[in-house]
């Protein structure tokens, strides 16, 4: 369970990224965070990764108050959360398999585990045949699949996707959303920040609409189906 309890985030004195936000996300749920740029979507993701701290209120992930976690244990929190960054963030000078291997090695996995898991992940996301390609040689969809594979390399319980369809054509966007959905069906909580309303309406998952750092609409999955 992820809980935001009256969370406010203020940058400086004037910018209120989040204002008294209260939100509960049960384990295994797929949630779409929608809203305009500056509505607070990315701030929510940053809070979950402990890249920033709430100015006010509490963020609780699986029973632990993130603000109370000592700095040296923050990496443990991050190992339980996978992130697909908005810019995809693949290392341009490393091949596809090296990108995954690098993430695994950085997270403390041994070479033996890397050799075993990287091909498995690439195959699972349909990019094994591009293992030796550099990111620039991949299509947008393939790059996104590699980024997803990398985000899931540590088997996190939560997957955060920051605008995963931002630079993709509609067809590829649907394909990537399908991949995220498949991940969710395996039990991973998925939080997708997006302003791609086409993908959101096709998904028919819980949708939280944000505006100026406030939740203005929270539509449960059941109502969308109905």
């Amino acid at each position: 369970m992820i809980e935001f309890q009256n969370v406010s985030v203020t940058y400086g004195e004037r910018i209120h990224a989040l204002q008294n936000l209260t939100l509960a996300i049960p384990e295994g749920q797929f949630v779409c965070l929608v809203g305009l740029t500056g509505s607070g979507k990315s701030t929510i993701l940053k809070l979950l990764l402990r890249e920033i701290r709430a100015t006010q209120g509490r963020v609780i992930v699986r029973g632990r108050d993130l603000a109370a976690i000592p700095w040296k244990h923050v990496p443990d929190v991050r190992r339980n959360i996978g992130l697909i960054p908005q810019d995809i963030g693949l290392l341009p000078n490393k091949k596809v398999w090296e990108n995954l291997a690098y993430a695994m090695r950085a997270a403390g996995h041994a070479r033996r585990e890397v050799r075993q898991k990287v091909p498995e992940m690439l195959e699972r996301f349909g990019v094994l045949h591009r293992a030796d390609a550099f990111p620039a040689e991949l299509s947008g969809g393939e790059q996104q699949r590699v980024a997803i594979a990398r985000a899931l390399i540590n088997n996190p319980a939560i997957l955060l996707a920051d605008e995963p369809t931002a630079h993709l054509d509609p067809e590829t966007s649907l394909e990537i959303v399908g991949v995220l959905q498949a991940i969710n069906t395996r039990g991973t909580t998925v939080i997708m920040a997006t302003h791609d309303m086409v993908s959101v309406s096709d998904l028919r998952k819980r949708t939280v609409r944000l505006d100026a750092g406030k939740v203005i609409e929270d539509i449960p999955e059941e109502q969308i189906v109905a």
Binding site: W71, R78, G89, M104, A106, A107
Partner: protein
């Protein structure tokens, strides 16, 4: 564990290669700083060693004429008694020329049998009152067996030499300390900036590391290692340079002035290189640590 170390070292080497010219600048500056540090430390230690060879307390040493004879001769005993009568003299010791020559040859690392003994028999006078030094010197000069030296002072005054050596050591300590500090700050700043450059150049890798939950140590250590390697390489270069420079000075002074006046001390190559390597590693790691502390953002 080895896997972990291998990853950290690989990361540091990637950064060293990527920074290319900055890495070379950092190593060169560290080498220069450590060369100054090492050179001055060696000079200081040599002066200290020289000081320890000088007699303790207030001592005057002078040569006596060959006609006074050798040890055990009555003339020598009489002269010793006469010297003891001079006001301000606490003790008198006879220094036979053979013993002086053997000691000198051993210090110089030469074979005493290969060269003629250039020394006369000598007397060493131990003074109990430094203010009487001049009158004692005059009394000694007036003695019939006093042998004036052809070069240098006619009476060697260890007190003056000690004073001069101590003053020189103080100068080396202060000026050398300041120079070392200045050059360390310069080298440290260059390493600091190289690490800053690494953090900027590798921001994507560092972000990937952070996002996949790499420990703070895993992210930070390659930066510290990069600084340590730069410092250590600087230390190695400085050590080898110092060794080479000293060997050159030694060979040149031997060529110009002969073995007796050449640079005397043996260069402790292994200890010097090890010390400079360690000092460089500490300097590099410290500078890198400061830079990482300031520019590496690992979240709150």
């Amino acid at each position: 564990m080895l896997d972990r170390i291998e990853f950290l070292v690989e990361e540091a080497i990637v950064a060293l290669r990527r920074n290319g010219s900055m890495t070379i600048s950092a190593i060169n500056t560290a080498a220069l700083a450590l060369l100054i540090f090492g050179g001055l430390t060696f000079a200081y230690l040599s002066l200290r060693a020289h000081l320890s060879t000088l007699s303790e307390g207030f001592t005057l040493t002078f040569s006596i004429k060959p006609e006074a004879g050798d040890e055990g001769n009555q003339k020598i005993s009489a002269m010793a008694n006469e010297l003891r009568q001079i006001e301000g003299v606490a003790d008198v010791v006879f220094l036979p020329r053979q013993a002086t020559w053997r000691k000198f040859a051993a210090e110089m690392g030469i074979d005493p049998t290969e060269l003629p003994n250039p020394f006369h028999n000598q007397f060493a006078l131990y003074l109990d009152d430094l203010s009487k030094a001049d009158s004692i010197k005059n009394a000694v000069r007036a003695h019939r067996f006093f042998q004036p030296e052809t070069e240098g002072p006619d009476i060697r005054d260890a007190t003056a030499e000690r004073r001069f050596t101590l003053a020189l050591m103080g100068f080396v300590r202060i000026v050398g300390g300041l120079l070392t500090l200045l050059s360390f700050v310069t080298a440290g700043t260059i390493i600091y900036n190289t690490i800053r450059l690494t953090i900027v150049a590798r921001r994507q890798e560092l972000r990937t590391m952070m996002l996949v939950g790499a420990s703070h140590g895993t992210i930070r250590w390659p930066l510290l290692l990069e600084g340590a390697i730069q410092g250590a390489l600087g230390g190695l270069v400085a050590g080898i340079l110092m060794w080479g420079i000293y060997a050159y000075i030694r060979s040149q002074t031997t060529e110009w002035f002969g073995p007796l006046l050449s640079a005397k001390a043996e260069f402790p190559a292994f200890q010097a290189i090890l010390m400079l390597l360690l000092a460089g590693t500490v300097l590099g790691m410290l500078s890198a640590g400061l830079s990482a502390r300031k520019y590496l953002r690992l979240g709150l």
